[in-house]
Structures are given as C-alpha cells and as structure tokens.
C-alpha cells in the first residue's frame, strides 16, 4: 500500500510506533518502509519527538545526596575533586591541568578493555608488517562501540599514507537497501562523511585533514548510497568512539 496517499493511516501508524504500542510484524514492516522513504521517516520522527515530550513533564524528585559520588566513583574520578553535594550552589571549577588529568584518568579506566583490544590490534598490525618496508606509522586508534559499550569496529590511522582503516570486529550487517556510513566528528562543526562501508569487512579512507581535527568517529545506519543530508547522519548512530593517541 502506498502510505503517501493515506496520510491519516500513516499518522496513526507512526503515532502508535512512537508510543510503542505498534509491535511485532507491523512494527518491522513500518521500519522497512521507513528505511527507503524519507516522507515516512519524517513522519516517524515528528511523532517520536512529540511523544518523547511525555518523558519530560514528570514531577521532580531529589535523588539522595550520595548519588553524585556514586557517579563520579563509577567514572573513576578522584573523590577529592568532586563537590560534596550535587546540590551545592557554588561550584569551583578544577584548574585546567587537573581537568585534563581527570579526562586522561577517565579514559585510562573506562576505556581499559577497548584500549587493550586496540593496543593488541596495533601490535598485531606491527608484527604483520614488520617484514614489509613500508611499516605504517600508527599513532592513532579508535574502537567504535555500540550503545551497550560493546566494541564493534576497530580503526587505525597510518600517518605515513594518511589512511584510516576501519575493520569490522563482530558479525553484523546492515539490512537490505541499507548501509553503514562513517562520520568524523570535528568539535564545533557538523559531522563529516568519510565514506560508506560496503559489504567488505574492511574500509580504507584517505584523510585530507589532520587526524587531530577529528576527536571522534561514528557510524550511522543509512539508506543505500548514504545519508541524504550532507551535514550529518539521517539514521541512528550505531557505533561511536573517540580517537585515542597511542603516542602519549
């Protein structure tokens, strides 16, 4: 059926989709239609944004004062540098070098597994290429993880050839007529498309800009041919991660 001609039906389906009461086969069929149809996608987005407003208008409650400490502990921040209460009005911002140190500390702890995988992979890359004259010079790696923090893509950057290599680590693939698109995320600017991943498990991209212009990378799910929007993903971001400098 052509949902364009049945605007009211499309709205009914999109609203129940956003609410979550459209389930099972009907939900999947609408998702398939939306993947190939910008009008349907826009209507789903309209309803999702509207319905999501329901989450915003709930009565406020104060969590217990210890909760902020629990959060900073989980993030591995030094306890002494956090304010005693989450609700103190006055906040002294830590000095710049401390903040940087905290950030490094954070990455050391939370990205431990990711870094271990990345370092192992870099070492492996080095070993494989030892015998070859053109040893890549790799000072930058990234592990792109899904929303559950499961590593999914391994990225290395060769300074010598300015090549970004993206290697898929898990067994997953976009659906028919869909594709993964790689994005560089410069700070303070729109995401920059770096290419579309085909069916190959490895993608190589030549990078024009300096790697430190792109502090993070992300991969979104897009219709075939990539996002119709040049300034960013049109579909959901599946994997993302910061670029880590291994030459620290």
């Amino acid at each position: 059926m052509n949902l364009h001609r049945h605007r009211e039906l499309l709205d009914k389906l999109a609203a129940e989709y956003a609410l979550g009461t459209l389930r099972g086969g009907a939900r999947r069929r609408l998702e398939t239609l939306a993947a190939n149809d910008a009008t349907i996608r826009r209507r789903l987005q309209f309803w999702q944004h509207r319905i999501d407003g329901l989450a915003e208008v709930q009565t406020e409650h104060l969590p217990s004062p210890e909760l902020w400490q629990r959060i900073t502990r989980e993030l591995g921040w030094p306890a002494a540098q956090t304010a005693p209460s989450a609700h103190t009005a006055v906040h002294v911002q830590p000095a710049w070098p401390q903040r940087v140190w905290q950030a490094i500390g954070f990455w050391r702890l939370t990205a431990l597994s990711a870094t271990a995988i990345a370092v192992a992979a870099v070492m492996l890359t080095f070993r494989l290429t030892e015998t070859i004259r053109t040893t890549p010079v790799i000072h930058s790696v990234a592990v792109l993880s899904d929303k559950q923090s499961q590593p999914a893509m391994l990225v290395t950057f060769d300074e010598r050839t300015r090549t970004l290599t993206i290697k898929q680590m898990g067994q997953f693939a976009p659906g028919d007529n869909q594709t993964f698109e790689l994005w560089g995320l410069p700070s303070g600017a729109n995401p920059k498309s770096l290419g579309v991943l085909g069916r190959d498990r490895v993608l190589r991209v030549h990078l024009a800009e300096a790697i430190n212009q792109l502090p993070a990378l992300a991969i979104s799910l897009e219709p075939q041919g990539g996002s119709p929007n040049p300034n960013g993903p049109s579909g959901p971001v599946m994997f993302s991660g910061p670029i880590l400098n291994t030459a620290l």
Binding site: V57, A86, T110
Partner: protein, 201 residues
C-alpha cells in the same frame, strides 16, 4: 495562561558540548540542573527509589560517554536526556522482569481498591501542572497542553503505554478493561493529540 518557564535549552546544549570534550565540571553542572527532573521520571517508571537511583547513575555515566552524539537540531537537550533515562529505566525493568509482574499486580489491586484521588496521585496520570512544566522544552509543553484535551482514560492509557512500555494486552490487564477498549482509547487519544498538535504547530 503561560506557565512560568525558563528556557534551559541553550545552557544545556553548551554543557553537553563541554561534556563531549571530557569536561567533568560540565557534567556536574548538568547534574545540578537536571537530576531532580530526570530522577522524577525514573521514579515514575520504576516506582522504587533504589532502582531509580541505579538508573540515574547509569544514565549520567552514559551521558558522559555519549554527549558527543547529541544533535541540537534533532531534539531539545531536555528531551534527549529524558529519552536516555526512559530507555534505561525500561531496560532496567526488563532485567527485573519478575518484579515487574509484581508491580502490574499491585497496580491492578490499586485500581480496584484505591479512592479516585489517591489513584490519580499514584499513577500521576493527570495532565502535568505548572511545576512539571518548568524547564520542559517548548515541544514538551505543547504536548502537555494537548494531553489536557484528552479524556482521563485516554490520557491514562497513553501515559502508561509510553512510560511503562506496556503493550495493548498489558494495558488491558493493568487497567482491567477489554483489549478492544484499550485500543480505541489509544487510537482516539492519539487522533485528538494529532489534531491538537497540528493546531499548535
């Protein structure tokens, strides 16, 4: 009448940008601005202080790691944060599925036994008042105004479906009415919302 609102959006967007650059002070400020709002949401879905705190902790760790994913053009920062907390809360409920069945039974008993006012208070199904609207985004405020035009039953079914992720069947069991009735409440409620929202937009 306009509710007194302070548009927090620009400030929250700036905080999220700083968080994306790993600035811990920005996360702390974001926590100060939004934690009671987000905790209220988690508590509404999970109904247990302890669970809601677990989820808020997970959510803020998640916000620290994924602040860079926020796109200002797509949703207001408060909506983005609320959706994270809602999704995490629902994940938490799924992980504690056994307890969830328990909650559903409690709701059912409550519906049968509790006085009208108490029930509304427990389920917080009435349209949000001015206090809930402070710091809500413009879109959320428009939605809240339109929710007020629905019949109580419609509003109740739609709120439960979204906040608890209940299916038609679960709603029918929780509210103690036939499946067909639930479906028509939701359908008519959403129809009314659409008409109202298009009038606003």
């Amino acid at each position: 009448m306009q509710t007194p609102t302070q548009d927090l959006s620009p400030e929250l967007v700036r905080l999220l940008e700083r968080i994306a650059l790993n600035d811990p002070a920005a996360l702390e400020q974001l926590y100060q601005r939004t934690s009671s709002k987000l905790f209220g949401l988690a508590l509404r879905i999970l109904e247990k202080q302890e669970w809601a705190e677990d989820v808020l902790q997970e959510s803020f760790v998640n916000i620290w790691r994924h602040a860079g994913d926020y796109r200002a053009g797509l949703a207001s920062p408060m909506t983005w944060l609320s959706v994270i907390v809602r999704n995490r809360s629902l994940d938490y409920l799924r992980r504690h599925a056994a307890e969830r069945i328990h909650t559903a039974v409690d709701l059912e008993t409550l519906l049968e036994t509790a006085p009208e006012g108490e029930l509304a208070d427990h389920l917080k199904l009435d349209a949000p008042g001015p206090a809930e609207l402070v710091s809500a985004s413009q879109d959320a405020q428009a939605l809240a105004r339109c929710m007020k035009t629905l019949e109580n039953r419609q509003r109740q079914a739609i709120s439960l479906a979204y906040l608890k992720d209940y299916s038609h069947t679960e709603l029918s069991a929780t509210l103690g009415v036939p499946l067909g009735t639930v479906k028509s409440w939701i359908r008519r409620g959403l129809d009314k919302l659409r008409t109202c929202l298009e009038g606003v937009a």
